[in-house]
């Protein structure tokens, strides 16, 4: 049994229209996505903006209404947030993309980090304070920070506050939605490495959402590539980066910049070749609506969206 299991998840947003504001159509943000995450591993969701990767993450934690499908966490169905027991939900937490808007500007760091503690643990003021200081130290901030306001910190520091808040309840699964894309490149690596360290230390499982393949490669054990609400390919990091099968994945991987300047020419030609292939074989990989087919196994770990044979 998998640690987290997402089965045929669909999130459709209604489009209202007409005189009475009836629903006339749907935006299929997530349209039949299934995957499993193993305990202690990092699963990466990749895709361009609008591919539904963020919606998937938010649906799992209960921020978006799930149209259809099932989410099973440690054998328990947590699909409907209203029916899920509160103290069970504390096992899943989230790190947000924007370290500015995700921290309430009117609150001190103490109140920000203590918010989940106050909801779930019965602590005295002194215990709470001590716990928050420990958490801040764990994420590399000084314990004196508790009386400060978010605007007194840099972006990287703010993201650490966000992480401290997310791990306050000792969750098992953390959904990290583009946790570093709003940060300076120089700070990104620090935060990423730090996330890996606490993963080991606390035995965390990550669902890591990003558009940046470099970051994903660095962080993840398994990867799912999304395009227009569906998976186009899924596999281990090795599967995806060493032998991408789907034309869309190939193009994404080819687009990763090469640091070695001597190979620049070779890389350019390669990219050009992939682009041509993409244009020629587009219709072999996408149906007539431009959507991906359902996944077919290539190996025991590697799945690709291809039309069914025969």
């Amino acid at each position: 049994m998998a640690f987290l299991e997402v089965k045929d998840l669909k999130v459709h947003f209604p489009i209202k229209g007409g005189i009475f504001g009836r629903t006339v159509d749907y935006v299929k943000a997530v349209d039949g996505v299934s995957f499993e995450i193993e305990k202690g591993k990092t699963y990466g969701l990749v895709g361009e903006s609008g591919s539904g990767k963020t919606t998937t993450g938010r649906a799992i934690i209960g921020l978006n209404h799930i149209t259809a499908g099932k989410i099973v966490f440690e054998g328990k169905d947590i699909t409907d947030p209203r029916k899920t027991k509160q103290d069970f939900r504390k096992n899943v937490q989230m790190i947000f993309q924007d370290p500015y808007s995700s921290l309430n500007a009117k609150k001190r760091v103490l109140d920000i980090v203590a918010e989940p503690l106050r909801n779930f643990e019965k602590m005295s003021k002194a215990e709470e304070r001590k716990r928050v200081q420990e958490l801040l130290e764990l994420v590399g901030l000084s314990p004196e920070s508790i009386v400060k306001y978010p605007h007194q910190f840099s972006g990287g520091q703010r993201q650490r506050i966000g992480i401290a808040r997310a791990i306050a309840l000792k969750p098992q699964l953390i959904i990290a939605d583009e946790p570093v894309s709003a940060l300076d490149v120089s700070v990104q690596a620090q935060v990423l490495n730090f996330m890996r360290e606490i993963q080991k230390e606390l035995g965390l499982t990550y669902l890591f959402i990003s558009h940046d393949l470099g970051v994903i490669r660095h962080m993840c054990d398994q990867i799912g590539i999304m395009y227009r609400g569906r998976f186009v390919e899924e596999g281990t990091t090795e599967d995806i980066f060493q032998s991408p099968q789907h034309i869309y994945t190939k193009r994404l991987v080819a687009a990763i910049p090469d640091i070695d300047p001597t190979k620049r020419e070779v890389h350019m030609q390669f990219r050009q070749k992939v682009k041509e292939e993409y244009e020629q074989s587009y219709h072999d990989y996408f149906d007539n609506q431009g959507l991906a087919y359902s996944l077919q196994p290539v190996s025991s770990t590697h799945y690709v969206a291809l039309p069914e044979k025969g």
Partner: protein
């Protein structure tokens, strides 16, 4: 872990911890704006004066009819003369100002509380809840406020100051509700609200402890401007005879004496002072409110 701590040890920060948009910005803006500063000083002085001096005045005495001193011109005994019941106009002016200010503040706070709660709920939940609530609000907006209030005042049994302020409140919460709702609609999309949800905070708690503090400055601005309007509305209703009960003078009550053509034409000392007071009070409160409004809008800030 050690090395990370070293790298990210916070830069030396000696500044005091302050909320980013605290009252200091409000205060700075008022000091920059001379008119607002004068208005604020005036308001503080006049409130101190009328609340202070009315402690030493006997309202019973002032509103008791004295048939031997009807319609006297100003004198050393009656600084602003007496009215048709021989009552001291100056005394009524002091108590009237106090009453008008008090009810203005009371109605502003009560309608503010209702409006904020209504707007927060509509904006926070959005969707169908918002739709239904906004239709209710639209209905209240389109009611002929003045007439409905007058009818209510006329039919409420055991009419008192409390029932008067409740009636006013019932029809004055819509403006702030609309404002808060539109701000809450924007605010609810922000990640800090989403984050609170994932951390198990209840909707009510998120509204009250997360969203509300972020709307505090516009609430203060709006309530200040409402106070000015409410002072005007109360005096208007009292002027028509549908405000304060008979035995409780307000600025509007004094002005209503001017509906007697004799008083209007020949006894200006009865109605001109309250008229000026209402005007100056409303202007002063507005001046302060406008300065606060500029402070919340960084583009218009003066300092």
């Amino acid at each position: 872990m050690e090395k990370n701590v070293a790298v990210l040890e916070e830069t030396e920060q000696t500044e005091e911890s302050k909320s980013p948009t605290g009252f200091s910005i409000f205060w700075r803006e008022i000091v920059r704006d001379k008119l607002a500063l004068i208005s604020l000083i005036f308001l503080v002085l006049i409130s101190a004066f009328v609340y202070g001096i009315s402690l030493f005045m006997n309202q019973e005495d002032i509103v008791t009819v004295d048939l031997f001193s009807i319609h006297q011109p100003p004198s050393s005994d009656f600084w602003l003369g007496t009215d048709y019941g021989g009552r001291d106009v100056f005394g009524q002016l002091i108590i009237g100002t106090r009453n008008s200010l008090s009810i203005g503040i009371l109605v502003t706070l009560m309608s503010g509380a209702i409006g904020i709660l209504f707007g927060l709920i509509a904006g926070y939940f959005g969707g169908t809840v918002d739709n239904i609530m906004m239709r209710i609000l639209d209905f209240f907006m389109v009611l002929p406020f003045l007439m409905i209030v007058i009818v209510f005042v006329a039919i409420v049994p055991k009419y008192s100051i409390i029932s008067f302020s409740l009636i006013m409140t019932l029809f004055l919460w819509m403006g702030i509700a609309r404002l808060i709702r539109s701000k809450a609609l924007q605010e609810r999309e922000l990640d800090y609200i989403q984050a609170s949800k994932t951390m198990g905070s209840s909707n009510f708690k998120i509204m009250m402890t997360q969203m509300l503090p972020n709307l505090s400055s516009i609430i203060i601005v709006n309530m200040t401007l409402n106070l000015a309007a409410n002072i005007g509305i109360e005096s208007g209703l009292s002027f028509l005879g549908f405000g304060f009960p008979e035995d409780t003078p307000s600025l509007g009550t004094l002005l209503s004496y001017a509906t007697n053509p004799q008083t209007l034409e020949f006894r200006w000392w009865i109605w001109v002072p309250p008229a000026i007071l209402i005007l100056v009070l409303m202007l002063a409160v507005r001046n302060v409110g406008e300065a606060l409004k500029r402070a919340t809008d960084a583009r218009q800030r003066r300092g």
